[in-house]
Symmetry: C2
Subunit: 360 residues, 2 copies
């Protein structure tokens, strides 16, 4: 995969430096560069600043920016476009929060949440990819590492091996967790309805936090059938990229708002402006924000989970980002640096400096 990064340079100078907004891609969908260069960046650069200023606060209005980005775009077809728009949107929010000199989660809590945000952010660890050698041993090590790091919920891959092999992996993980946490399974949406039903029947007696993407993301009939076949929570949504597609999932997918989990990726779904519309759809259909566990473990998601009181943040404990999180009993502390918080990560600093230098 490729990744795109966006930098917005403002005309505000602080400590001798331009205040800038940063955004970095999520994972899973990519090739956003061409679309950004051909469509979205020119629209913003060609717009007059009075058309995207916040009339009350000054500075940028992310909703106006969003409307300019989407000017002339056709309805439907939410694939790569949402990820490209999401990057510009994220850079705008980063910039606004920095101009207000506060972490993004706090700004989101003030504008769209309870004003405070979550002092302890619920997190889980995504691990347990298949290994061609010593798979069970490596899986066991991964689970142990996560528990040692302070996670209580871990998610492992499933559905990519023979059923008996998957059962061995599941039981290995459950044995190590030993009631001190919980296990989720990620099936990555590759099973048919029948395969998913067989799989779920086979593992029905295990205690699981959730089963993720048992079937394809747009197969609402299969999603409904699977949800009817088990009491275990179903998680899905990381491959739906708009409020419209989310609404259809809620209308037709037979999901249960007392337990099922919605994982739309904020960066890949047109950014925070659209995610607020997604939260409106949830409310309209009787769902709590606590059922949201956004995909992909990026800093934008972390800020949104912390600021908007969402249910759970995904992390990968081996990633550069997550290793900076101090986790205890399944919770992490919110970031303290202004904006999204890229400045704490040397790897990102190199990337953004590289993009920004010709602009300064």
């Amino acid at each position: 995969m490729t990744a795109s990064a966006v930098v917005i340079v403002s005309d505000v100078i602080r400590n001798g430096k331009s205040v800038m907004g940063f955004a970095f891609d999520s994972i899973g969908r990519y090739s956003h560069g061409g679309i950004l260069r051909e469509r979205f960046i020119p629209r913003i650069l060609n717009a007059h600043s009075e058309n995207y200023q916040d009339p009350d606060r000054g500075g940028l209005d992310p909703f106006k920016i969003w409307n300019i980005l989407m000017r002339g775009e056709k309805p439907g077809g939410h694939g790569e476009r949402p990820g490209a728009v999401g990057l510009v949107d994220a850079a705008v929010w980063d910039l606004i929060a920095k101009l207000e000199d506060k972490p993004l989660w706090r700004l989101l809590a003030e504008r769209f949440g309870d004003g405070i945000g979550q002092p302890h952010v619920p997190v889980y660890a995504t691990i347990g990819h298949y290994h061609s050698e010593n798979d069970i041993a490596q899986l066991g090590n991964d689970v142990r590492t996560c528990l040692d790091l302070g996670f209580s919920t871990v998610k492992i891959k499933a559905g990519g091996a023979a059923l008996s092999e998957d059962e061995r992996r599941i039981d290995t993980a459950l044995g190590i967790i030993n009631g001190q946490g919980s296990l989720a399974l990620d099936l990555n949406g590759m099973m048919s309805q029948t395969e998913a039903e067989i799989f779920i029947k086979k593992i029905a007696d295990r205690e699981l936090a959730w089963i993720e993407e048992p079937v394809g993301p747009l197969d609402f009939e299969a999603t409904k059938a699977v949800a009817q076949a088990t009491d275990i929570p179903i998680a899905t949504g990381e491959n739906l990229f708009s409020a419209e597609d989310t609404r259809n999932l809620l209308l037709y997918g037979g999901l249960r708002h007392d337990r099922d989990i919605l994982q739309m990726d904020i960066s890949l779904s047109y950014g925070i402006v659209e995610y607020l519309r997604i939260l409106d759809e949830l409310k309209l259909h009787g769902w709590s924000r606590k059922q949201c566990a956004p995909h992909a473990g990026h800093l934008l998601a972390y800020n949104t989970v912390a600021g908007l009181d969402l249910g759970l943040h995904e992390t990968t404990p081996y990633g550069d980002l997550s290793s900076a999180l101090k986790v205890k009993d399944g919770f992490a502390e919110p970031t303290t640096s202004p904006g999204v918080g890229f400045e704490n990560h040397p790897g990102f600093k190199l990337i953004f400096d590289d993009i920004a230098s010709p602009l300064l």
Copy 2:
């Protein structure tokens, strides 16, 4: 908008020249270049030829090519990707038909149709965009020109002006057609359900061939409500780009298979390989191919309508392509040149020569 063109150079030499496959973008969705270069073209170029050969016929197997293109792609999110894949798919079909020295419509009829195809291809003309000056006069001229050219069904834009102004446009067009043909309206999916219901109530007494995209393409509840509110056929689908999204439309959109019209764009929906899956979905849900009127008026669609016995082909009578069609009483003759038929159009020849020259 930008447009992408794809050329496949084969190692078959005829009359001293390499036989090549060509594809040119549809309209409405764009920026396919970056995605093609980063993802799809490298996958094909890196594949071994035995993995995409047709074991029975020799040459390329479009279904194997399609699987290679989509290798490692995640499920769902049908936006720009389908248009990029559709271009490679279309170039493959063009090449195969040329290697068999027959028009693509004939090859499609032989492999997936009745073996013969349609000797007279039903066509309609898309005209009647809004003009800032002399709108009604220009609309009248457009309608008259279409009738003179041999079209019997014409489609005009609606929903982009005040209701009274739209009524005047509709009545102007109907007055000129005067029972010698039929009028369709294209609302471009920009109305809310309530707006669409008001609009349809207001024009309910006019005789119309269909009302196109009265509401957003993914708003299946609104689609259903509008279909329930009128006997006039509803057309939609040009902003759905996959068999999965089509299935959801058929399942939830409340459309009526005795009258409503499905307009998925073949080029923008992963090409002919996926369009065959779309036709399978239709069959499964009790729909006839005759209800299909693919979007956008490109030569790929024309070949598919002719070869697979679809209901109607869209054309724009002022375009370079359509002006080559001889239309009589609403029907046109199938093309006779091998492949998709770009060679008859000097504008395309320049573009493809330009792309091919460094490859030869």
